[in-house]
Structures are given as C-alpha cells and as structure tokens.
C-alpha cells in the first residue's frame, strides 16, 4: 500500500471528490496560485482550473458566509481557513447561519459545506493563531466536527465530510501535515462518528483526538516498557457525531480513563466525555476520569515554554500513571 503524508491524503481526498462531483469547489486564501499556505492544494489549480480552485481575498466572514449561501443552493464548497483560528472572524456565518439554517427553515434547506484548516499549537505562532476550537464548534447542534490524527483518517474523513449534507468543521494540524502512513489509492470512506481503537489494552483507556493520539501511542509504549501497563488508545476521530459506544466499551473493559487533548480544560471535549462516562459507566470505574489538556492560558509564544504548555508524551505518561494510582 502506498505511504503518503497527511497533506497528500487531504489533497487526494479533495481531488477525488472534485473529480466525482461537479459541485465541489475548493476556496480560500492562497489555495490556488500560491498552491496553498501549507501546500495542501499544491498542483490543484493547474489540474482543475480556476473554477474549482478559487483564491479569496482576506475576508473570512464574507467568503465563509458565501460558502454557506452557495451550499444552500447545492454546491459543496470546501472552504480553507489558512489557520483554523481565523474561524472567529466568520463566527456568525458559521454558528448562526450554517448551524441554524436547516433548523430554522424546518428542514427545507441543507448546508453541505466543509470548513477546514489547521487548528493546533506547537509551532510558536502565538495566541491568536493557535486556537483549538473543537469543543466550541461541537457545542453547536447542526455542526459536525472531525479531527483526524493520521493520513489514513484524514483522507477517509475528508471524503465523507464533503459528501455529508450537514456543515462539517474539519480540524487539521500543521505538525501532522508531513506525517505519513499507509493509505490506499482510491475511494474508501471513513464514516463520521466512528472511533478507532489505535492500540488495544486492558489496564487503562487513553481516549483523545487529534495529534494527542500520536503522543498517547508513544506514552502507551513507555507505560508498557517501564511498568508493563497495557494501555488502550482510542482515537475519537469525530467529535460530533461521537462514538459513545466505543468509549463506553473501552472504559468498561479497563475501568480507568484518561482523556488527552490539546484544547484548554474548560468545557473541553474531554469534559463532555468524562460526563458521559460518569453517566453511563460509573459502576465500572475504579478511579475518576482524568483529563490532560494544554495548560489553561492563552498559547504562549516562547518556543520551549509552548512545548511545556501542550500535552507531551511525558505529560500523558505521568497523567496515566496518576490515573492508575
């Protein structure tokens, strides 16, 4: 099977969908002539032309809102935010318009838009560029949220997101763009709402999403090597819809849970998952559900300090040991 990067996987997914469906367009700042700020869309303008690959001015509220309107009339716009952090410029368009239009029209109107871009810290770009808004997005009924942690999922989820009839916020990660894994050629789909057990185990469930999963896998290796602890690592992949069943099954098996994510702790996805577990699997728990997040402050610029602010292999390892105490 070919080994390709997360970046190439996204490009392949969008390209395949553009070829499959004439209503799919990719739009955003610098996606066409510049080949993408992070080169996700490299070569796509040359291949698909300016009708399908469209450069926009720096007008997030305007062009994201325009994508919502175009989706209402049946296009399937894939809107790139150069950094997902800029979603807040378009907040009203996303959370008032995209999220509510179907409901307020009594189901008369669909909004099959994908809003995608990198949502992560760790590259010293400072507080304004490092937001991880998955819990904010998922808070809004009407919005779907996915956060792929690897190239295989990135491709399969992107294809599903584009075909989905609801607005999907697709949160990527600049640090993962260059990470590669085996990805089949051609058209497989990863359904929204299906978690993936990345590593089976019996002693603790380390559940999470996004790049934290890549770190958690390494922490799990350490737990095994140093303490013979068998951690199960569960990648949610999709935040809303959420695979509650896989979460509960894993926790019922291990009786302990650590949730890892890059977001800040208040009302995070992990908080939601902890609540679900205490509601539906309380009797199975041997310890309170623990969470590991970024340190609760805006993203610091200082490169070595930002490393400490974010989840790391070491911090996850320690938190897992604490959960097992």
């Amino acid at each position: 099977m070919p080994v390709i990067t997360y970046r190439e996987a996204l490009r392949a997914a969008m390209s395949e969908e553009i070829e499959r469906d004439p209503n799919v367009v990719l739009m955003g700042e610098e996606v066409a002539q510049f080949n993408g700020a992070y080169k996700i869309s490299e070569g796509m303008l040359a291949k698909y032309g300016p009708k399908r690959i469209v450069d926009t001015p720096i007008s997030e509220a305007g062009f994201i809102g325009m994508g919502v309107g175009a989706a209402m009339l049946g296009l399937r716009p894939v809107m790139e935010l150069m950094f997902f952090s800029f979603y807040s410029v378009a907040f009203d368009q996303i959370f008032n318009n995209a999220a509510n239009i179907r409901y307020m029209s009594g189901g008369l109107i669909n909004c099959p838009i994908v809003i995608r871009g990198p949502a992560n810290g760790g590259t010293n770009v400072g507080a304004t560029h490092s937001h991880t808004p998955e819990s904010i997005a998922a808070y809004h009924p009407g919005i779907k949220v996915v956060v792929p942690s690897n190239a295989y999922d990135a491709k399969g989820l992107m294809k599903s997101a584009i075909r989905d009839n609801d607005p999907v916020m697709f949160l990527e990660n600049t640090i993962l763009y260059g990470e590669a894994c085996e990805v089949p050629d051609g058209g497989y789909l990863v359904p929204l709402g299906k978690a993936s057990i990345m590593r089976a185990g019996t002693d603790i469930s380390i559940i999470g999403h996004g790049r934290s999963i890549q770190l958690a896998l390494k922490s799990a290796d350490l737990l095994k090597a140093k303490h013979n602890i068998n951690a199960e690592v569960v990648d949610l992949r999709s935040i809303r819809p959420l695979d509650v069943e896989t979460i509960l099954n894993s926790v019922k098996k291990t009786s302990r849970c650590l949730y890892v994510e890059e977001s800040k702790p208040f009302c995070s996805v992990g908080a939601m998952v902890a609540c679900l577990i205490s509601d539906q699997a309380f009797d199975y728990l041997d310890a309170p559900v623990k969470r590991l997040t970024s340190i609760d402050a805006p993203a610091i610029y200082s490169p070595p300090l930002e490393k400490l602010q974010l989840p790391s292999v070491e911090r996850i390892y320690q938190a897992a040991l604490d959960t097992l105490k």
Binding site: E29, D296, A297, E306
Partner: protein, 365 residues
Amino acid sequence: MTKKPSSSKKTEVTDLGYDARQAPINIKLGQDEKIALYRDMVRIRRFEERCLRSYQQGKIGGFLHLYIGQESIAVGCTSVMGKDDHIITAYRDHGHALAVGMGMNEMMAENYGKVTGCSKGKGGSMHYFDPSRNFWGGHGIVGGQIPLGTGLAYALKYKGLKGACMAFMGDGSVNQGAVHESYNLAALWSLPVVFIIENNGYSMGTSQERSSAGPSLAERAEGYGMNWTIIEDGHDVLAVRDQVGQALKLAHDKSLPSVLEIRTYRYRGHSVADPDTTYRDKAEIEAYKSTKDPLSVFQLSLLAEQTLTTELIQKIDESACAEAETSAQFAEASPYPSLEDIKKDVYWEIDNPADRKSVGALFFD
C-alpha cells in the same frame, strides 16, 4: 440616476512639481532631525537583517515578517507624532516599534521568546506592545487592529485630548469587514483616526488586482465621506511626513478621520518562510530597490545637501549593526520564562491578588 458630489477631500500626490522637501513640515527640519530620520531607517533595516540571521539559526520560532523596504513609512509617520498621538499596527511591527523608540534588546529578546522581551516572551515577533510610547501593538489577525485603533481615537476624543490614532494595515487587510465597520464609525462619529494602508502590492502571494475591487484602496473612503489621499512616493520619508502631518492636523483640529494609502514595497517574502517564487519575479524586486529604496533615496538627497557625509553614513551603519548584534547577544544570554509564568498575565485579578474582588476558580488545570 444622479451622482452626488462627495464632500470629502481627496488628494493624489502625483503632481510633478511636488517636492516634499519644500513642505512646511519638512522645511523646518534641522540637520540633526534629518539625520535622525535616516538613522532610524538604517536601524530598522539592520535590526531586521540580524533577526533574519537569528531566524535562520533557529533562534526565533513561528513567523518573522520583515519590514525591509517599507522603513520610510513607520519612520515618517511616527516622526510627526505628538505626545497624545498613538499608533497601532499588524504583525509586521518591528519598524513601528523601533520608530516609536522601543529598544532592540527587548524586541530581539521577544523574538527569542525570552522573559526579558517586551512581552516577556509571550507574544513573539508579531505582538510587540509599548503603551508607554503610545504603541498598542503588534496584531496577528489581519484587520483586527483597525477597530482597536478606532477605539483609541474614540477614547482620545472622549477624554478631550488633542491627539489622534494612526491605525496601520496592509493592502490585503482592507477587505476585512471590521475595517469597513471602523471606517463608518470613524466617519459617523468624527473620530480622530488616520487609517494608513501600507500598500506593498501584495497580501502574501496575492497581488492587489487579484484581491481588491475598485480603482484604489484609499478611494473606498469616498463611500463614507472621508478624506483620502494616495501617496505614490511612499519610499520618500519626507513625502510621508508631509501627508501624514496634514492628516494628523485634520484629526487634531477638526476631529476628522482620513484614509491614507501609501505605496511601498517589501523586499523579502511575506514571512521568512515564504519562498517568494509564485507571485513576482526577482526583476520586479530589483527594479524597485534600484530606484526607490527608502534608505538610498534619502541618503542621496542628504548627501547632496551635505547633511550627510560618507563618514557619517558609515558610522551610522556601523553603530546600527553593533546595536543589532548586541541585541542578539542580550537575547541569547537572557533566560526563558518559567513554567509558572505561563499562567501570569492572563487575569488582572490573579496578578493583583490583594485587590481581587471576584471569588471562585479562574483556572481549570
């Protein structure tokens, strides 16, 4: 259909007879003042060249947006600031920071992420601030600073101060809704703000024609009945002074806002990470450099009038290089923030526990 004539004043500074040196604001400049303008531009350039080296050595993280080529604007604009005039800009902020008098040490240390930096290593290159020098940042979100600049002007008017705010943005920023909302507020409420568009021709890899409708960027002010001016000779620090001086006077005397579009050019990529290969050719950069470099042009004119000598030019250059080098050493030798520092400067009440009035948890680690 009727076309209503606009009451706004517009100027396009393209008169062939125009000589910025003869403008009242410039004619009274002493030799030392002219040398100071020149020196400030040289200091910006040498500082940034040193930043670039540090970036290439891996000492600076994230983004580094260089101002090289645009020095005449920050220096020209800030040179006409009075005590109650304020400025705010975007992420390409090194020039403005040095021009208002911030020190290279605190700036370089900020780039290195050190606790001795102007924001204690928390903001980085894009987020310099110095309220004590009326400099309100350093902002990373395109256009996001423009409502703030409008608010600074609002506060000046509210307090009855005879000051204005210069709110800087790039040519790409004019397409943000917040900019237009600010234009309307400023015009509607007669706020003493000067919106300054540093038009370097590109927003990242997008040329002005590919991003902005309409005949010019400044002309959008017309829709709000605001004064607007295009300064073609943005490389000429004296032309910048003249026009900005007039706009500031309008703000001071009549509390009227205006939009200035200053034509300029950046020599480096959008940020240091931009390979700068998809949207312009090297010849275009060279053509500008060879005829309109703000430092060279001003240097030549000061040489011609014998304000500068070759020895003095060399001295200024050497001292700017030395100052930049010292700042790199200072940054290198400075400590990083501590782990505890991450959670300082988030809430006033946490930093001032004795005066805390609210109760309850503020952090959730």
